[in-house]
């Protein structure tokens, strides 16, 4: 299950990265980003030494490409979505490397946890951009507000989640 989530997230980040870079007019970057994410999708086929190197380097390169695309005038939303996908794929790759024989309940719990963090991160990023536009707030203030709100929300969920998933005899 985790494997397919990881691959899906890599494809997701690859698509948004290519779209971002092509729309910014960086054709070579789009091609390179696409190839890199394609390789990342197939990371399990590579030898373990190469895979260990590929996981963090793909996240770094995706981040750099996203930032470069944004600085070149590309849509920020796509950059945030690409970054979120990259983070999800990287962390899921780490988990499956560390614990390949994890049981289904553990995998589900992991997916809930990572899903919560990625959703909050993406939501906060996108909302910060939207708030800035709609409320005409200075961006640092919008960012600070979103960060605080997100952390409080995270706290709320992390306290509620164990109660919700507890199994009664």
């Amino acid at each position: 299950m985790i494997l397919w989530v990881r691959r899906g997230a890599a494809v997701w980040s690859g698509i948004f990265l290519m779209a971002l870079l092509f729309s910014s007019g960086i054709q070579w970057g789009g091609m390179a980003g696409g190839i890199l994410n394609l390789a990342w999708t197939m990371a399990e086929k590579f030898p373990s030494s190469l895979r260990r190197f590929l996981l963090p380097s793909a996240l770094v390169i995706n981040t750099i490409f996203s930032a470069y695309g944004v600085l070149s005038g590309g849509p920020v939303t796509w950059a945030v979505l690409a970054a979120g996908g990259s983070l999800l794929s990287w962390n899921a790759g780490l988990f499956s490397q560390r614990w390949p024989e994890a049981s289904r309940p553990v995998q589900s719990r992991y997916l809930k946890r990572i899903g919560m963090v990625v959703a909050l991160g993406l939501g906060a990023g996108l909302s910060a951009l939207a708030f800035q536009g709609n409320l005409s707030l200075p961006f640092p203030l919008a960012l600070w507000a979103m960060l605080v709100a997100g952390v409080l929300f995270l706290c709320l969920i992390s306290q509620a989640l164990p109660k919700a998933t507890r199994k009664f005899p």
Partner: protein
């Protein structure tokens, strides 16, 4: 925090710094998912476990090559742990069969058993405890803990069954045993004769002597008692010879173990001195407990290079009861003759079991005329050393370690003086 956390935190911070430096809000927005990853472990503390740990070694004393089953039972009486990696730390030198580790979640009250088998060569192996690494599912925070749960595994030296060994120390102990005591009394060996006195058993009358002297003469028999036996194991590295698979010292240890077993089974009081790095002394005593003590000491016996113990000059003779039997197991050097003569002069009965270093080394050397000549010279030197010792009243058993010890003792037994 883990390396993964530092990695994401660095990326997030780089984006924030770049956004602030370039006054670009988009870069700051991009940093938000990274910052949430970074903040999560800071917000959520790792749960605190309360471990109960128990280790079982079955058996904890074994012979070389035999398997020992190890069970480590871990119970978590604290909070539930999402991901735990438990590894039992094992000493170097043992061969592991099975998996001494556990990876998974650990709920409150859950008990897990790490079960595996170890085999090893002679030695003392200490299992110090268990390493526990606890983390969250995202791999962003991790705590390491070491749980002490120490047990020692004794891999004992091999023991050879020995036939009767004749020793005759000047002084024996009061209990009945198998060693001739030089005193008349109840026994089976003829000791002498004396004039009959009323009360002597009639079946002990010596009729032939009586007819010659025209007196009633009665036979006397030698009492057999237990004795004090001190065994000295030479652990000086200067006399050691070693190959990839074999070691002369290991043969010496095997000989010591066999002699300990034999003399304790015969009811004697046995002590052990390992002479090498320091004076490792096991006080003389009787019985099975003493056997276990000495075997444990022999299991841990190691070669030493201490300058003080390079020669037998500082042999602590006072450790052995006066006029008792001392058995030295050593390949011997020429310089060892004088201190051993001194030991003999003090009144101790000395028996030397000497593993033959020349016979041990011979198969490892090239077979040519120089090697033959060298062997002859070395053999002459060794024979001269042994002859000097024999002339001093020391019993010497020259043992070719390719053969069994009992055979060497039996062959030497015929030539041993009383």
């Amino acid at each position: 925090m883990t390396g993964a956390w530092s990695f994401v935190a660095s990326l997030g911070l780089i984006l924030v710094i770049s956004g602030l430096a370039l006054k670009n809000a988009a870069l700051l927005a991009m940093a938000l998912p990274y910052l949430f990853f970074t903040l999560l472990p800071l917000w959520r503390n790792l749960p605190r476990p309360d471990w109960r740990i128990q280790r079982e070694l079955e058996p904890d004393h074994l012979k070389g090559g035999q398997p020992c089953e190890i069970k480590v039972r871990l119970t978590n009486m604290g909070q539930e742990l999402e991901e735990v990696h438990i590894t039992d730390m094992f000493p170097a030198g043992v061969r592991i069969e099975g998996h001494p580790e556990y990876h998974g979640e650990f709920k409150t009250g859950q008990m897990e058993t790490l079960q595996y088998t170890v085999r090893g060569v002679r030695g003392n192996y200490e299992f110090p405890g268990v390493s526990v690494s606890m983390g969250d599912l995202l791999g962003l925070s991790r705590n390491e803990e070491f749980l002490h749960c120490s047990e020692t595994l004794f891999v004992l030296p091999a023991v050879e069954k020995l036939e009767k060994i004749k020793i005759s120390p000047r002084r024996t102990r009061v209990f009945t045993g198998t060693i001739r005591s030089r005193e008349s009394g109840a026994g089976v060996e003829f000791f002498g004769t004396r004039a009959y006195v009323p009360g002597d058993p009639l079946r002990h009358l010596n009729w032939k002597a009586g007819a010659r002297w025209d007196l009633l003469i009665t036979n006397l028999f030698e009492q057999e008692r237990v004795a004090d036996v001190g065994i000295i194991l030479d652990a000086r590295s200067i006399v050691e010879l070693k190959t990839d698979k074999d070691s002369l010292f290991e043969h010496s240890v095997r000989a010591a173990a066999s002699l300990v077993q034999y003399f304790l089974e015969e009811g004697n009081r046995v002590g052990l001195l390992v002479y090498g790095n320091y004076i490792q002394w096991t006080f003389p005593a009787y019985g099975k407990q003493q056997r276990a003590k000495i075997m444990a000491a022999l299991a841990g016996a190691e070669l030493g290079e201490h300058a003080v113990f390079k020669e037998f000059r500082y042999l602590p003779t006072r450790l052995f009861p006066p006029e008792s039997q001392v058995i030295l197991i050593s390949p011997l050097r020429g310089k060892d003759v004088y201190p051993l003569r001194y030991l003999r002069a003090l009144g101790y009965r000395v028996l030397i079991v000497s593993p033959d270093p020349i016979a041990f080394e011979k198969p490892l050397l090239p077979h040519d005329q120089f090697q033959e000549l060298a062997e002859r010279i070395a053999r002459m030197e060794r024979n001269a050393t042994l002859a000097k010792l024999r002339r001093s009243g020391v019993q010497v058993v020259d043992w070719d370690v390719t053969g069994p010890l009992w055979l060497a003792l039996k062959r030497a037994g015929a030539g041993m003086r009383r």
